[in-house]
């Protein structure tokens, strides 16, 4: 009897967990497919599929451009973080030198900076480099979050690779660059895919810098575009369109998370950093 009770309790808890996690997304999809005044009637189930909001979103605004911007910024950030992170992790994970622990701690400390605390300094830096209102400026600024995290995860990973492989390569006369590119790189792909994916998500989702360091509609990234989306009149929020935009930028991420779930969990817990 208690076995059945326990099982029913577990089933109930799992159902609750699923509803809690998925209902807001479900409801956003539902709203995004309502048309006109249909948005303003509360419904729990879909009655008709109307993609008008999606059409209006891509036809009437710069939303397509914003998506492209986000893809470009995120790709740049991932590439730069992985390149800088990999070489640094090789040194931090494999070579013993003075001040290594201190450097690792400093890198970790950077990931604790409140974003606002670097805002005015970053603003003058980006303006000084002539990168204000450009995607390059955003990509540069995003290294603040992605680089410390990439370095930490890759260092942890590289430390756990067997030393023997490296020693054998040294015996064969391989230099540090050869070791990194020919020996470590092939072994590092799983870790790089994970950190790259998380860095991509961080860059895709970032809001404060994107809001502050861009000025024109054509330079916006998707979170800013969604936050600033307005309808025909300034006082009436186009909820159907906002939900269509939300679903559009979220579904690719959800798909990625579902596919790479195991890797993501491993990466997040290994680095134990913010998402």
């Amino acid at each position: 009897m208690t076995r059945y009770a326990a099982r029913a309790g577990l089933a109930f808890a799992v159902a609750l967990l699923l509803i809690w996690s998925l209902f807001p997304l479900y409801y956003a999809v539902l709203t995004s497919m309502e048309s006109g005044s249909g948005v303003f009637q509360v419904r729990w189930w879909p009655d008709a599929v109307d993609l008008g909001n999606y059409r209006a979103l891509f036809a009437g605004s710069n939303f397509g451009r914003s998506i492209l911007n986000s893809i470009m910024v995120a790709t740049l950030v991932v590439a730069a973080s992985l390149l800088l992170g990999l070489t640094a992790a090789h040194a931090l994970g494999r070579i013993r030198f003075r001040g290594r622990r201190l450097l690792l701690m400093a890198v970790l400390a950077v990931s604790m900076f409140p974003q606002v605390a670097v805002l005015s300094g970053m603003f003058t830096l980006i303006r000084g480099l002539g990168l204000y209102n450009s995607l390059w400026g955003l990509a540069l600024a995003y290294l603040l979050f992605t680089l410390p995290f990439t370095v930490w995860v890759l260092t942890t990973f590289i430390r756990e690779l067997p030393v023997e492989i490296e020693e054998a390569a040294i015996m064969d006369g391989a230099g540090p660059f050869t070791i990194l590119i020919r020996i470590f790189l092939p072994l590092m792909w799983p870790a790089m895919a994970t950190t790259g994916l998380i860095a991509f998500i961080i860059a895709w989702n970032e809001f404060l810098f994107a809001l502050t360091f861009t000025l024109t509609d054509t330079m916006r990234t998707v979170p800013v575009a969604i936050a600033l989306l307005t309808g025909a009149s300034q006082y009436e929020l186009p909820w159907g369109m906002i939900m269509a935009a939300s679903v559009t930028v979220t579904l690719p991420l959800v798909a990625l998370v579902l596919v790479f779930q195991r890797r993501l969990v491993a990466g997040l817990t290994a680095g134990a950093v913010k998402g």
């Binding site: 400093a106 989702n205 993501l264 998402g275």
Partner: protein
């Protein structure tokens, strides 16, 4: 340990420097320099429109007496309100996330069909951009057309729609709710990773001895997952103290929910007052530093370090 290290120390040192310098340079440019500049601007009267054109004003942005009246961030009632809001937000959301996260992890750690899929589903709120979650919830909490009002009225919990985000009592509750929704999966994942390292025979022995489950949890599970939980709490606390997106998108610069980050950005960008805004931002940096140090001191640093290691290893086991 590594024979080669002993044999060619000098060239290896050079290699380390070569490999590290791009990363160190990048972090100096995007982190150290901007932070130093912000702290510096806090002592000036710089404005956002002409940041190069300023004079040093000492501590005037922080606190100054002029004609018997106090000025500066520390005499600004709005800043103190923002500090209160931030501390309330951080305390409430981190507590709720920790409790719910452990509960979620215990459910996910049980054996049931489709467990992999449920674990993936739980990650969905974490992956959704904060701005999007804020918008989704703002829509669900809409005073006239929101599904939460409709549902609560259908269940007889309230008799007329509530303006969740407009009323100052419920606005804070709403932003905390959204933050908890979004970040509980993170705590749950770290906890789950730690749970998977708890040896099974502990539970076997407890069952044989007939110890009730809640005592097993309190005396076996909880002490073992404590280090990992501490790491999760530190990271969440740091995040909650610097919160910006969710509050800004849901309630804008409303006083009832204004956090320290929003206050600093408002001074900086909205009012173009770079000196004052930088002073406010520097104070946030100090508040976060103080809270972190206090938390780590309470926790003892050696435990925090072992928690970090444990979370790392558990991650590999869980993946």
């Amino acid at each position: 340990m590594i024979g080669a290290v002993m044999r060619r120390p000098r060239s290896l040192q050079a290699t380390a420097a070569l490999f590290l310098s791009p990363m160190v340079l990048a972090l100096a440019v995007v982190a150290v320099w901007p932070l130093a500049r912000t702290i510096w601007f806090g002592f000036t009267d710089a404005s956002l429109t002409a940041p190069a054109d300023y004079t040093l004003v000492g501590l005037a942005n922080y606190l100054e007496v002029y004609d018997g009246a106090w000025y500066g961030v520390l005499a600004d009632p709005q800043w103190w309100q923002a500090l209160r809001n931030t501390l309330v937000f951080a305390a409430a959301s981190v507590t709720a996330e920790t409790v719910l996260g452990v509960g979620m992890a215990l459910v996910l750690n049980a054996r049931f069909p489709g467990r992999g899929l449920v674990r993936a589903a739980v990650l969905v709120p974490w992956a959704i951009p904060t701005v999007v979650s804020a918008k989704m919830w703002a829509w669900m909490l809409h005073d006239q057309f929101g599904i939460i009002n409709a549902g609560a009225m259908a269940l007889g919990l309230i008799d007329r729609p509530m303006a969740w985000l407009a009323s100052s009592d419920t606005a804070m509750l709403s932003v905390i709710l959204v933050d908890v929704w979004k970040t509980t999966p993170f705590v749950a994942l770290l906890t789950l990773a730690a749970l998977q390292t708890v040896p099974r025979d502990c539970y076997e022995a407890a069952r044989v001895d007939g110890i009730p489950p809640w005592r097993v949890f309190l005396h076996i599970t909880l002490p073992l997952i404590r280090p990992a939980l501490a790491v999760a709490v530190v990271f969440r606390l740091l995040d909650a103290l610097r919160v910006f997106d969710v509050v800004y998108v849901m309630t804008g610069e409303a006083e009832a929910t204004m956090t320290l980050s929003i206050h600093a950005r408002q001074q900086l960008v909205q009012f173009q007052d770079m000196g004052y805004g930088s002073a406010s931002a520097t104070l946030l940096f100090l508040v976060i530093g103080l809270v972190t140090v206090a938390y780590l001191a309470v926790l003892r640093p050696d435990r925090a370090a072992s928690g970090q290691r444990m979370a790392g290893h558990a991650g590999e086991a869980g993946g």
